[in-house]
Symmetry: C2
Subunit: 345 residues, 2 copies
């Protein structure tokens, strides 16, 4: 068995460990969010961590009701013109904690006297030393190049920050149930892993979502892309309609992430134009009607609160990425030309 | 002649008109940027306007030294949970001024008492009525579905805000020279339009850049995608290295935007890995050495200040999009399945 599959299956356990060890630190973690001088959150990240950052943009935006912005690292590194960060809480998300450009933004935040928080799987990494506070991802060592459990635990860490900053007991209880829900989703998705066998020869695909699962779409696209080397891209359903849908032709696979919730109507308005163009639509949903109408349905376990739905919605995408790479006979642990840790300036 | 080609050629004139009519308003336009309670800029946009917003993220970030964030419209519309905008200056960018989700963010900014500014080509549009102040794009009527002159003038408007907020006389003089530089670039790129004739049968392409031209990469990708229906995507050179490069295989076209300046080294580090993977590299640059080494060079006029380089760098991309669609015999003015104005919630 590959490290990738092992780590994929370890996700419920890794998430449970994160919650067990870090949930008790909630009041301490929430403290910088409540400072009077924090008007917005600035996140810096690369790769899979940027997809967890997109989740944070929705869930922290709603919880703390402050906008979440993404940093432009090159202003700090290549241009040497870092912005003034008055009003910012700076959060760095990095599995390895080693990328110089990500760390430069966190270090600049601290230099300017802003509160800084690092989410990293390595509490002895440079980013952990650069930040005031660290939220360890507690995923354990990850050996496959493609991130699975570190990504899931990044989502879990962001969800924990949501619960911590709102001090919402219901949110904590909902979050505590997620390791079990992720376990059920893994069983469901692995049992149905042959659903995509007809897609073994695809050239690429487009993954779409809206709202809280916008980042999930990017992560599913990245995972399939890394593991099978196919050209997979992600879009907000709304952005796709503003032009890029032009490239979706007859037979092109489109994976629509459509869990129940407020964003569902924003994704549904895309289904008709996609069918008119003859796209092969794969629907990931817990909605019985949508699944029944889909050419290729990938079911989600039901009853997961919408704000936590990325933690289960990503699973069928990870399993699809694994299966598509298997069908091509590729090395799951070392995708061609990729390294586990990428150092960019 | 198509409307697209006519409007592409009208760009120097449209830009000159914007500067002539709106540069005198610089002090008034700069006023909200200097308010003591403005700590960051929040931009809302869709489609090509989002690519102008990416330019604003770098150029206004450097000028005014405050971070530029992008709004998440679904929090305002689908979720009905708009963030608290204390500290924000809200800017909406929309050619038509008609998209409900974009306008919802501007209206919410105004409702919360924040300063709001609309960049639109239609000063009588809903976004213009929603905002406190309007910077008209002055591009004249645009009939082709794919934006050219409204995009260039959106860049010009952002550059004007840079000059206005810094009250930098050198910046104003550099900007005033841009209609002439865009004219030279158009002549150069149109004269060399057959350079891409060997690319007539491509399935897709990847466009990369960093820093101030990050948004230009997205616009070039969108333009080729809209006009020729090919699967064209854009990446920051740094993000591509963090995983997505896995899908760049032998013979895949990669268009590298590499004008001189601080971001050049960040783009150059990508060339070696791309060549190792056997990509067909197209280099858009004013750097003689890079052009000489490129399999397919697309030259830029020399001497354009780096902060204004997107206004010329986009031109070879627009011409490539036009040419690739011509080679396929497609309708340049009405790409299949697209409308000029897209209304998303």
């Amino acid at each position: 068995v590959s490290w990738l599959e092992r780590e994929l299956r370890e996700q419920p356990e890794a998430l449970a460990r994160l919650l067990e060890r870090q949930a008790p630190r909630a009041p301490e973690l929430a403290e910088p969010f409540h400072r009077d001088d924090v008007h917005y959150i600035l996140i810096v990240s690369r790769g899979s961590s940027s997809n967890a950052a997109r989740y944070a943009q929705y869930v922290l935006g709603r919880a703390h009701r402050v906008p979440v912005a993404f940093a432009t690292p090159s202003l700090y590194t290549l241009y040497g013109q870092p912005p003034l960060l008055e009003g910012a809480l700076v959060i760095g998300i990095s599995q390895s904690g080693a990328s110089p450009d990500v760390n430069a933004v966190v270090a600049e935040g601290r230099r300017q006297g802003r509160p800084t928080l690092a989410l990293t799987n390595d509490p002895s990494s440079p980013i952990a030393r650069a930040a005031d506070a660290v939220l360890p991802l507690e995923a354990g060592e990850e050996r496959a190049v493609a991130a699975t459990k570190t990504f899931l635990n990044s989502l879990g860490a962001v969800a924990l920050l949501f619960a911590a900053t709102t001090s919402d007991e219901v949110a904590f209880r909902e979050l505590e149930q997620m390791p079990a829900r992720v376990e059920e989703q893994l069983a469901l998705s692995l049992a149905g892993k042959h659903a995509l066998d007809a897609f073994g020869d695809i050239e690429g695909a487009t993954v779409v979502a809206r709202g809280v699962n916008y980042g999930t779409a990017f992560e599913v696209a990245l995972k399939i892309r890394e593991l099978s080397g196919r050209l997979v891209e992600a879009y907000s359903a709304a952005d796709l309609l503003h032009g890029p849908i032009a490239a979706i032709g007859h037979g092109w696979p489109v994976i629509v992430l459509a869990p129940s919730g407020p964003a569902l109507s924003g994704v549904e308005e895309l289904l008709e134009p996609l069918r008119e163009r003859g796209a092969r639509v794969v629907v990931v949903s817990d909605d019985a009607r949508l699944l029944a109408d889909a050419e290729t349905p990938l079911p989600l376990v039901i009853g997961v609160p919408e704000w936590l739905s990325p933690l289960t919605t990503v699973i069928p995408g990870q399993v699809a990425a694994l299966r598509l790479a298997e069908l091509r006979g590729l090395d799951l642990d070392r995708p061609e030309g990729l390294q586990k840790v990428t150092l960019t300036r």
